[in-house]
């Protein structure tokens, strides 16, 4: 079966300007060669810490940013080059739900207009038809009809995320990006939203790219996981396989650092030293080697490729060559 979304060798560098004349000094290598494929009804979890580039990957896949190299394919069609009508056809299929319930909704816009805008902007419906579809969508995400006539600030964080989800799904997209959708929510509210998102996927067959820094949430939501570090994917596998046997030292560090709500099991271990480095001055060789507890001579000299270590389980590490 053909993948719904395919990312091939995506690269995105941001030029850094410095000095009085704003001279171009260096590059921030946000995304440095990322590839993946996503099928119908499947969720790929993209996990990593700050600066790893996962949000940028999200923007690239949504066509909100143009890649410097590489491409994004929607059902075989290259997206970055499209314009006009062709672009509009695809647009309705690539949607996003953002993190911050405070700023992801326009405070001056009625919920009705916010949720209905994608229909109007893409010329999919007008007038009464829009209202009807908005009501239907609100019901599906667990809100009531009269909520359409209110403003964002009248809702709680969880409800605002539901509105954001309704907005993303109203055009019936095939692919949705979730960028840290529950990071700003309380635990009990997060549970509601995560259940809702999973349920919607079961019913409609959406393909999800789920971006988060929280490994437990990623495990709960994803069929497959890709771990990112400093702009590249360092390990990717099916969820069960990844947790059963994490291969890359960074993945292992992430898992050890995760605090488990069980005083009996000792976790939250600081396996790696130092801070998350910036994507401006990348280390030579393997990007992780300065912090890696298993670093060897070869890691300083050459960067490992992402290759298949076991069936469906790939890692970019010299330990497995």
């Amino acid at each position: 079966m053909e993948p719904v979304i395919e990312a091939r060798d995506l690269v995105k560098y941001f030029p850094i300007h410095s000095g009085v004349f704003g001279r171009h000094v260096d590059y921030l290598k946000a995304v440095d060669g990322v590839s993946f494929a996503l099928h119908r009804g499947e969720t790929l979890g993209l996990v990593g810490e700050s600066g790893c580039g996962k949000t940028t990957v999200g923007y690239l896949v949504l066509n909100l940013l143009s890649p410097d190299r590489g491409t994004v394919r929607f059902k075989g069609v290259d997206v970055p080059g499209l314009r006009g009508k062709a672009l509009r056809e695809i647009r309705r299929n690539l949607q996003v739900v953002f993190q911050d319930p405070q700023s992801s909704l326009d405070p001056r816009m009625l919920v009705k207009k916010t949720v209905g805008a994608p229909l109007e902007v893409n010329r999919l419906a007008r007038g009464a038809e829009v209202v009807r579809r908005v009501q239907a969508m609100l019901a599906e995400v667990g809100l009531s009809e009269e909520h359409a006539y209110r403003y964002p600030h009248e809702f709680s964080g969880g409800q605002r995320q539901r509105i954001g989800i309704a907005r993303a799904l109203i055009t019936g997209p095939e692919f949705v990006v979730f960028d840290e959708p529950t990071s700003a929510l309380d635990v009990s509210v997060q549970a509601q939203i995560l259940n809702l998102v999973k349920d919607l996927q079961r019913r409609h067959g959406y393909a999800y790219l789920f971006i988060s820094h929280d490994l437990s949430v990623i495990k709960h939501m994803s069929h497959r996981i890709a771990v990112m570090y400093l702009g590249i994917i360092v390990e990717t596998a099916a969820t069960g396989d990844l947790f059963a046997e994490p291969l890359h030292p960074y993945t292992r560090a992430l898992m050890s650092a995760l605090p488990l709500p069980d005083p009996g099991k000792r976790t939250m271990l600081a396996v790696v030293a130092g801070d998350v480095p910036s994507p401006v001055n990348l280390p030579a060789g393997c990007r992780f080697h300065p912090r890696c507890p298993e670093a060897r001579e070869i890691c300083r000299r050459s960067a490992p490729e992402l290759r298949e270590v076991k069936a469906g389980h790939r890692a970019a590490c010299h330990l497995y060559e």
Partner: protein, 291 residues
């Protein structure tokens, strides 16, 4: 129909009454509002309340001092100054409203587009605005009015042009901030084009600051319009405009103080009124104070 309106704007209505409540507690707001109301009432009711005809000449009564019949005295053609001041309010306020409307509307759109599109377009537009801003407003207005020809409408256009960059700059600043919000990215992801976003997202979020700036600019506008008339570039005689009246009254200042003084006083009070109200409004609308 009314129900639908009430439903849709329920929150705005509540916010409006809350703002009014806050303003009522603020002394400058109240003072400013009283002044503005008096001036507006005077302007609207002039034809009804004015004791005399503003352009009726009565040479026998020329240059009479303020007294029982003529509260503010008469001018060199015997016309009642009180009446002329009342009618002058109509003109000044009309100019003010039109100028703020035109400059605010155009300036806001220019600023919003400039701020949202950014990069070269932004640079270009802002440099043009800078050029206009670098002239002293009165001088520029004078030059434009002179070029267009002395008349009320040309005065309005000239002053409006001078005020556009002030709105543009302010709205551009707000647009830059709004641009970074996630709902803008969400709108782009939905497929909305730049102009749709500017019209439906950016401008509504700048609305209240435009209103506040408008009240402050209104005062300045009245002053500039009066100055234009003062030097003969705005309204033409016999139209009773405050600035024009001062201009003529200058000659008589020594012996007939009332001629220039009353119109001048009214300009002063009106501008102060708008300014203090605008200040209070800005404070009250500040989201931090509203909690």
């Amino acid at each position: 129909m009314l129900d639908e309106f009430r439903r849709q704007y329920a929150w705005q209505i509540r916010e409006f009454f809350f703002t009014v409540k806050l303003l009522r507690r603020n002394p400058s707001a109240v003072a400013g509002f009283v002044i503005i109301t008096v001036m507006v009432a005077m302007a609207i009711m002039a034809p009804v309340l004015a004791p005399f005809n503003p352009i009726q000449i009565s040479l026998s009564e020329r240059l009479s001092p303020p007294g029982g019949t003529h509260w503010f005295g008469t001018d060199e053609l015997g016309r009642d100054i009180f009446t002329r001041v009342m009618y002058g309010a109509r003109i000044s306020l009309w100019i003010g409203v039109l100028v703020v409307g035109i400059a605010g509307g155009l300036g806001a759109v220019i600023g919003a587009v400039s701020g949202y599109l950014g990069h070269r377009v932004d640079n270009l537009i802002m440099r043009v605005m800078d050029v206009v801003l670098s002239f002293p407003p009165l001088v520029l207005a004078m030059a434009l009015a002179a070029a267009l020809g002395p008349s009320l409408n040309n005065a309005i256009l000239a002053v409006a042009f001078v005020m556009i960059p002030k709105f543009a700059r302010m709205v551009r600043g707000e647009a830059l901030a709004v641009k970074e919000k996630q709902f803008i990215a969400a709108a782009r992801a939905s497929g909305a084009g730049s102009f749709w976003i500017v019209w439906h997202h950016v401008l509504p979020n700048c609305f209240s600051s435009v209103i506040v700036l408008g009240t402050l600019i209104l005062g300045e506008t009245i002053l500039i319009a009066a100055s234009l008339s003062f030097i003969g570039l705005g309204t033409q005689p016999p139209t009773p405009e405050w600035g024009a009246m001062i201009s003529v009254g200058r000659k008589f200042l020594m012996d007939q103080w009332w001629y220039a003084t009353f119109p001048g006083l009214f300009i002063l009070v009106t501008v102060i009124g708008f300014n203090i109200f605008g200040d209070a409004l800005r404070d009250v609308l500040d989201p931090r104070i509203r909690r």
